[in-house]
Symmetry: C2
């Protein structure tokens, strides 16, 4: 069985979001240009360098990074450069993660920033850098430095340029991932990549959001952190946390519109949710999009822990691949979750069909048809308490094993 | 690629252990008889009921159980019956886990005990019961009760009977698993099953140890708990914890020998280690036996947490399947472990060959040959502190996905 990729992903929160190759992505908001080229980092000859530039008037920026304690050089550099809340340009490459290269890796990342700084005429500390690809190989610096001039030369505000940037950050992604939310008075655009959220050897999830709203770094950070928590941090393809994960939000202020925090939060959440859904639909080896909602435990945090434990259970994920309504695996997985539950009164449903009530199977439990592409698993842990959380995951398929058993060699 | 099973597993601690189909297993110590039959629980017609009886003079017993909060009916019943430190007979079945069947499941387990109690003429509270197989289906009670008389009639102290019992508890196991340690003055025997340690829908790991040593329940429990912690609890095939896991130790005192706690501990550890190694070698879809040793963190407990996190990482496990020395995945996995580490000074070796030093690759890291069946991964987290722990796992193969995507349907 081969993995069928999902070509369309819908945003599930926050109203209408435009997506797809023609939507513009990071260049949809006023004040942004982008470009993407084939510099030659990848042996495949596919595009591998991208650039996003904020033409202002404001250069506000915020970021969220991987929680992994082993972090890649570009994360170290970008963390440092974004500390003052201002970034003018983001330089991205795929094909090499520049992770686990020690001090020389940091120096390579800084040299890339310096070269772009010279070319754009902006301070080096206003450059962010992101890398994605194999861990442990030094960046091919001649290739990277040779790519700077054509990248800057190719900068454009056309939708084609947005797509070129989104395409150049792909690794094992099969489709580019973009989203645009047009709110009253301002726009938020985004591009992202990542198909093993978060698959470490891929050094995997990168995202760049842009907006023409006039906001402070504090507003940007609050919106991005809240949205990431609800979207990217609840997408769990394989339980593995990358060394390189970075999501940036750049704000140009070019709309002149000053949104409330609530307006900004809603728009940022909407595009993050769309990008997360697109990542789920393009996940490594995916044949099923699985959403797991947990209720009836000690509040939202407990529900999230329990949903994540189910979503990471290989036996559950294999059952989803087999369209197998094996609710026993849901119970066995959630039974080890360190959260409040009534072990005698757990309810499980697949796509709205109750398959387990009071921790026992319903008579027709094994007749549920899970042959479709989307499976919603709902688990009520029976304590009667409120709060719920949903985690998105995928099945565990032959293609996932195939893709990940032959990556570096 | 099909999974090659490992036909021979060596004990790695505690001196010489006999194993293999002819070793006697649970009937090797004096005072024990066993039997195994095909009752008809499994559609395949394979053996599915087993019995182990302690003929004394002592009927000492101890047990360790699953930590899952969703526990199967036989666990509930056996926990109750073993509370006084005495068990005469263990009734086991494969093909049905009797898990998640609520109160009726407990009543089914009790009826099985009562039937055996009548047949053997011993109190019902001296009977332990273990089930393994699919979760959520009621036991076929006519078949179970019909199996009691032939099981009792077939009881024997011959090695053939030990093997018959070990065979009748298999599910997706391909080989029976037995071990015997002949210590000075006493003997410890064992049988076990489990190939997705701990794969919940299989309701998976069962073990019965027997000894002719003259020991107290407290000695038995101390030895079993310590040995389980070092062996079964450090075997982690897929991170999933069964609802049925049970390991029992029965002591007949028939040797008349009273060992010290240390002598008992060593012998029990040796057979548990052998059974654990046999389970690893027969794990679902296994093509590689992988041992992960972590040092240089905050002591043994931290080392165990870190080793387990690496051993559960699907990307790492896929790399092992591909014989891929992708040390970046080891670093990315261990980087999220909540333990002491120096992120700039991590060392990784595969089969004694250093592939990563100071969190960076060595020049010949990608040339290491991992095509053999056994891979030892050593990770030094760089804090300079003592303590180490080793976890056994396997690779993640196509066969694992295949076996587990079509189990209940």
């Amino acid at each position: 069985m081969t993995a069928e990729k999902f070509s369309v992903a819908d945003a599930t929160v926050g109203g209408t979001v435009e997506f797809g190759p023609e939507c513009g992505g990071v260049v949809a908001p006023r004040g942004f240009r982008a470009s993407g080229i084939t510099a030659g980092i990848k042996a495949s000859g596919k595009p591998d360098m991208a650039l996003v530039v904020n033409d202002g008037p404001k250069k506000t920026a915020a970021a969220v990074f991987t929680r992994n304690r082993v972090v890649a050089a570009p994360v170290t550099v970008t963390r440092d450069h974004i500390e003052d809340g201002s970034i003018t340009a983001v330089l991205l490459n795929s094909g090499n993660a520049n992770a686990c290269n020690g001090r020389p890796g940091v120096e390579d990342a800084l040299r890339s920033c310096e070269s772009l700084s010279d070319e754009l005429g902006v301070p080096v500390t206003d450059i962010a850098v992101c890398s994605t690809g194999l861990i442990g190989d030094r960046l091919p610096m001649d290739t990277i430095l040779g790519g700077i001039e054509p990248l800057v030369g190719g900068l454009s505000g056309d939708n084609v340029a947005g797509r070129a940037a989104a395409t150049a950050i792909m690794t094992t992604d099969l489709v580019d991932k973009q989203a645009v939310r047009r709110a009253d008075g301002f726009t938020v655009g985004a591009m992202g990549k990542g198909v093993g959220m978060i698959s470490p050897s891929m050094a995997t999830m990168l995202g760049v959001l842009t907006t023409d709203a006039d906001i402070t770094p504090e507003m940007a950070h609050a919106a991005l952190a809240a949205a990431s928590e609800k979207t990217f941090n609840r997408l769990d393809i394989d339980g593995s946390t990358s060394t390189n994960d970075t999501v940036l939000l750049l704000a140009s202020g070019a709309s002149g519109y000053v949104p409330t925090q609530e307006e900004l939060d809603a728009a940022v959440l909407a595009v993050c949710d769309s990008i997360a859904a697109q990542m789920q639909g393009d996940a490594e080896g995916v044949t099923k999009r699985v959403a797991i909602t947990v209720t009836g435990t000690g509040g939202e945090d407990d529900a999230l822990v329990a949903a994540r434990i189910i979503g990471r259970d290989n036996l559950f994920k294999c059952a989803m691949f087999g369209s197998d309504p094996n609710w026993g695996r849901v119970l066995a997985a959630v039974g080890v979750a360190p959260v409040a539950m009534d072990p005698e009164h757990i309810t499980v449903s697949f796509n709205g069909h109750v398959v387990c009530r009071d921790t026992g199977g319903t008579p027709d439990a094994r007749d549920v048809d899970l042959s479709g592409s989307d499976i919603h698993v709902e688990v009520d842990l029976g304590t009667g308490d409120g709060g719920s959380a949903t985690v998105r995951t995928t099945d565990l398929s032959h293609d996932y094993v195939h893709i990940n058993s032959a990556y570096s060699t």
